[in-house]
Symmetry: C2
Subunit: 333 residues, 2 copies
DNA sequence: CTGAAAGCGCTTACAG
DNA sequence: CTGAAAGCGCTTACAG
């Protein structure tokens, strides 16, 4: 606010054009550059980004919109994306939608107002059908989730295959009454549900799944009720680590032993999944790779807008642990 | 980028001054306002924030700098702060320092460049001594941690008392060889260490503590080595949930039973701490209150710069669980 | 290599 | 209530 480029110019005894050049690309004599830099130090000058952006019609700000900042998957994503942005000399502006389509619309407008250079977006399911609204005038890379019908670059997991693998694993371990617990707000959860349904069908098993808000508390409530019913499952697949945690909590407080009374498997290799007893079988996602890939796609597209649409599909890794041990084999509690 | 206030003005058949007024504070006739709003809808106009900020010399952006975005404490903080900011009609720009003083310095400069209206900062210990540099020309509220010698508003926990309470609890449960595991990068960790030292002294016990980078992996390495030594502790207090998790992992893989071989207590009531077996005794922090309080202090000070410095001290709540059960009482594994 | 001038998209006195 | 003009702090052709 206080010290502007004019002050630096005065102190250095040059024009503000020269100061601008000395601080940026332009060619300046070494003597003058030295004097300018000295003046900058003396005055404590810091450029005003608003002015710079307005004038240059160019911005170094990238947007990131996630659906749930308290989901460790997204936290890890933000962490690596921020690192990559920093390495690329870009700044980040972050928005959290809390799975609320309306909040997401607001976030999109905020990004628009900031005239960001590009956006990494984990859309909530409400974005569906409003794909046209997603017509920001900047490149967009979808991450973890997609918007049906959109023509944006994307980095996603092979959700169907990953979930099918989890079901397959449970089947091999001898489980038959396998239930599914899926989020209700993302295409990712829907794909995982479909992968679950496909795998169940392939084995001629009856599918039974629930869709809930992807939070620990919603999962607790749902699973708690579910486990009281006569047709309750003896194994459960949860579509993210929050639902998985809720399922575990509900099972615990209902007195179900794992895996004897209820086997458990889910997504994301959070540290707690191997600290609980027994460890929980999970599908690990290459979060860091996904974040880096998304950033790479975004920077590429900012550089070269007319690239064809690219959709990167990453693969999960199944980590079998005690929670899915063969029926009747679990050690006594 | 594309459609500017001029386009709206042309479509509405008024001057851009009128458009600006219709969209903001100014008084405009109802007829004109209607026409302007229609033109906005028709053109899809969105204001250019850079231009608005530059001209009005006023910004609605608040900064948040945290030391570790992967620490759930900070994630929770960000979540509530973002919510509060949104309610106050403010935007947030977020920075993560990863406990690196140099990265923090960069973040501070970024904030400066953005001419933010105010900053919520969880400083890393490297900020010490550079308190003068922290002379941003905007209000600052420190959260969770302080900068020694600084005259900023702050919202912190009564760290000494909280840690002393944890030690006291362990003492009551019959533990005597109580070790401490503290972060090396925050005033908060230092205060917790001091609280630990004071409580140990008060009971005439020998203190033995380690200071490490506040990460799970650093804690694993440290505790792993520590537990191999003859003078190893039989109880451990960890200064945050990451260190606590690391301590638990190390104890587990070394084959130590909890609490029989090693009692464990730490900070932050993360959900996993009650899911592991036995549950871990923790000091719960009122994160949400802290975030809301910080935002309230910040908004107040932006409104009224010349308020006296305020330091809010919040209190933790000790949640005793199985990990600190009386010696010799733990149920067999 | 350097400076004077124009202008990015807005808001805000200032007249009317 | 409305419009013309100035100007926020920069960058960038344009001359020299």
């Amino acid at each position: 606010m206080r010290v502007s480029i004019n002050d630096v110019a005065r102190v250095a005894g040059v024009s503000k054009s020269t100061v601008s050049r000395a601080l940026g690309e332009g060619s300046v004599s070494d003597v003058v550059r030295e004097r300018v830099l000295a003046a900058v130090r003396a005055t404590g000058y810091r450029p005003n980004m608003a002015a710079r952006r307005l004038r240059s019609q160019h911005t170094d700000v990238l947007g990131v919109i996630v659906a749930d900042i308290r989901n460790p998957f997204f936290t890890a994503l933000i962490h690596v994306v921020e690192k990559a942005a920093h390495e690329a000399g870009m700044r980040l502006t972050l928005c959290n939608t809390d799975e609320d389509p309306q909040r997401e619309a607001e976030c999109l407008e905020l990004m628009q107002d900031e005239r960001i250079a590009g956006l990494i977006l984990a859309p909530t399911r409400g974005t569906v059908g409003r794909a046209s609204r997603l017509a920001l005038d900047c490149p967009v890379v979808l991450i973890d989730r997609t918007v049906p019908g959109s023509r944006h670059d994307a980095v996603v997991l092979d959700n169907q295959a990953a979930t099918a693998e989890l079901v397959e694993h449970l089947w091999v371990q001898g489980h038959r009454r396998i239930g599914g617990l899926f989020g209700s707000t993302s295409t990712t959860a829907a794909e995982r549900r479909d992968g679950y349904l496909g795998a169940m069908r392939a084995h001629g098993l009856d599918a039974a799944y629930r869709e809930v808000a992807p939070t620990v508390d919603a999962a607790i409530a749902e699973v708690d009720a579910w486990l009281r019913q006569p047709d309750r499952p003896d194994a459960l697949v949860a579509s993210n680590s929050l639902l998985l945690m809720g399922a575990l909590k509900a099972a615990r407080s209902a007195g179900f032993r794992i895996p004897q009374d209820l086997a458990l498997a889910g997504f994301d290799n959070e540290r707690w999944t191997e600290l609980v007893e027994p460890g929980i079988t999970v599908m690990e996602q290459p979060v860091e790779d996904m974040g880096r890939a998304a950033m790479a796609l975004l920077l590429e597209r900012i550089e070269t807008p007319h690239l064809p649409v690219r959709r990167l599909t990453m693969h999960g890794r199944c980590l079998p642990r005690g929670s899915t041990a063969p029926r009747g084999t679990g050690s006594a509690a």
